[in-house]
């Protein structure tokens, strides 16, 4: 459907994106995830034709569109700033793309109404964008970019300006619309929760290079490198060198033994180990299980349905664990944290 092939973009001497390749299949929802300045917006703009690649090709439905101007690509795009035309009504905004795509006056009118229905705003057609709330503006922006049935929908951080509650609501809503219309979607964000909760596939970008291209589950559970592990999700980190004991691979971290999930790993390798907070179990007394650490609670943050507990381990490092909502533990308590070997991520 969409194929980005060794895309490279330099701004003068400065490299924004280097040798980036990925594909999106028909109907997929793919997210470009990365910190700001990682090159994700440049990539999106290049796909739209708003940025000229220094090297590489972009193919849409098998056609090379690299040299086509944006207006010849049949792409839909929603901007972070919404980019709604302030001098036009909502209806005129949606009609704009339809007219440019050569729809007849009658079709334009019909599709504008359909689009307004689609985004649950049938009564707002005569408003100017300035009279709408941030969330409503984003919905109109989406309606405008979907009205003429583009081959692909590009979303440039559309939820960034919204507050937390609205943002979570919009995620589900956006997914529903995307499935309803069944439009291939490329979504750009720096927010890992957006990426993990909405996508079929995530492309993690850093410093202009793809770090991992995978399903959200795999990105979270089997990150390809330390950057992905640290950027996506929280974790407790250990470092050390691999040895084998009785055929089992282990790492010694400050005299403490950590058993690893996979024994096929070579000796003497320096590795980083990551454990997700939900994989760590906490108790006030030691159980004698493997991979058990002693620590002192430094903070308990209530997250609503659960609590996130921070503890300082004996080696001075910090561990994060999820517990029930009101754990029978206080700050400064001595606790024991343990995690099963098979849940350790080794990188």
């Amino acid at each position: 459907m969409l194929e980005v092939d060794t895309f490279t973009k330099y701004y003068g001497e400065l490299c924004a994106v280097e040798d980036l390749s990925f594909r999106i299949e028909e109907g997929e929802f793919v997210t470009l995830l990365g910190p700001s300045g990682c090159g994700k917006s440049t990539t999106l703009h290049a796909i739209a034709g708003l940025v000229e690649p220094t090297d590489g090709r972009i193919r849409l439905r098998g056609t090379d569109v690299t040299d086509l101007p944006p207006e010849k690509r049949n792409i839909g795009m929603a901007f972070q700033s919404t980019a709604l035309f302030p001098h036009m009504t909502v209806r005129e905004n949606i009609a704009y793309g339809l007219k440019m795509h050569g729809y007849s006056a009658a079709d334009v009118e019909e599709r504008v109404e359909e689009s307004l229905e689609l985004v649950d705003m049938p009564d707002h057609g005569d408003h100017k964008p300035g009279e709408l709330s941030g969330g409503q503006q984003q919905r109109v922006s989406l309606a405008r970019s979907l009205a003429y049935e583009p081959d692909i929908l590009l979303l440039d951080e559309p939820l960034t300006g919204l507050d937390r509650v609205l943002r979570e609501e919009m995620r589900g809503w956006l997914n529903r619309i995307q499935r309803e219309v069944n439009v291939t979607t490329l979504y750009v964000t720096h927010d890992q929760e957006d990426a993990l909760s909405m996508s079929d596939k995530v492309v993690v970008l850093n410093d202009g290079q793809a770090q991992q291209i995978d399903s959200p589950e795999r990105i979270y559970e089997s990150p390809a490198n330390p950057f992905v592990a640290e950027f996506v999700g929280k974790s407790t980190q250990f470092n050390g060198t691999v040895t084998h004991e009785n055929g089992q691979a282990v790492v010694y971290n400050d005299e403490k033994r950590i058993a690893l999930p996979d024994s096929s790993i070579d000796d003497d390798q320096s590795v980083s180990l990551y454990v997700r907070p939900e994989d760590i179990e906490v108790s006030p007394k030691p159980t004698g299980a493997e991979n058990e650490f002693r620590g002192i609670v430094t903070d308990i943050a209530n997250l609503g349905n659960r609590a996130e507990l921070s503890a300082t381990l004996e080696d001075g490092s910090t561990a994060l664990a999820h517990t029930t909502r009101f754990p029978d533990i206080d700050v400064d308590d001595d606790i024991f944290l343990r995690f099963p070997a098979e849940r350790v991520i080794v990188l």
Binding site: H45, A48, G49, L50, P69, P70, E71, R73, N74, I75, G76, M77, F79, Q80, S81, A83, L84, F85, P86, H87, Y96, G97, M100, H101, R144, S145, Y148, L154
Partner: protein
């Protein structure tokens, strides 16, 4: 004296001073307007009823009417020209990338820095060298140059705050560059361009110093006529003509302000 009364006294004194400064600023214009309605033969403050006789005089004077026509033509044409040229230049300086951009853009502002007397003699010599006819062509070109910086500054500040995602959105929605300008960028920046044109008109309409060099016998402008009349003696016709000038300029300037703040 308690500190409170000292503060009150300071406050009263300050207010009185401010009132005086406002009076100093505004009274000269008000007295011009007021004395234009005198029934007497010199600009006196009308004490026994108002009279429009000097305005009727104005309508009967072919020379004054012709000056008004010349002024309107020159200011309209030069305002349009400087709106177009100023807009093009502003776009170039805001969107273009070239070394020493900021420093070079100062050149665009030179016409409002150099004394208009110098501009006047420089232009009149230059126009005769390139054989541009005096009268309308010289007046229009001269006024275009003199009012250009105002349009340039207005449109430039509008463009600096313009969200370029709007153009990107238009392109992605299927519009080519020209269509994008017609339907999106143009309509959004056109109030600023129009405001610039109005201010250019105002600048041109009131310009005297450079203009006195550029006129030809048949093409005197209103300020030049007022100046000439002032040298020969005070008659309330000058007031009536001044009030016409004030009204035209204020209406356009207020319109411009409305547009640029909208």
């Amino acid at each position: 004296m308690s500190t409170r009364t000292t503060a009150q006294l300071e406050g009263v004194t300050f207010r009185a001073l401010i009132t005086l400064v406002f009076a100093f600023l505004l009274l000269p214009v008000l007295i011009v307007i007021l004395t234009s309605f005198t029934p007497q033969n010199f600009p006196a403050i009308p004490q026994e009823g108002l009279s429009l006789k000097w305005y009727q005089e104005l309508l009967a004077d072919q020379r004054l009417l012709s000056a008004l026509t010349v002024s309107l033509i020159v200011s309209t044409v030069s305002a349009i020209l400087s709106a177009i040229i100023g807009t093009i230049a502003a776009i170039g300086f805001v969107r273009g990338e070239f070394p020493y951009k900021e420093q070079i853009s100062t050149v665009m502002l030179l016409p409002m820095i150099i004394s208009p007397v110098i501009t006047g003699i420089a232009l009149v010599r230059y126009f005769s060298t390139i054989q541009l006819p005096s009268g309308f062509p010289a007046l229009i070109l001269g006024h275009t140059v003199l009012s250009l910086p105002y349009v340039f500054l207005l449109v430039r500040s509008e463009l600096l705050t313009y969200d370029r995602d709007l153009e990107r959105a238009s392109r992605v929605l299927g519009a080519d560059p020209v269509t994008t300008f017609r339907h999106v960028t143009g309509p959004i920046i056109s109030p600023a361009i129009l405001a610039g044109a109005f201010i250019a008109f105002v600048v041109s309409f009131g310009e005297f110093t450079a203009t006195q060099f550029l006129i030809s016998p048949g093409t005197s402008t209103v300020p030049v006529v007022i100046y000439t009349m002032l040298r020969t003696g005070l008659t309330p016709t000058i007031n009536a003509l001044s009030v016409v000038l004030i009204v035209v300029m204020l209406v356009l300037a207020l319109a411009s302000r409305k547009l640029s703040s909208a």
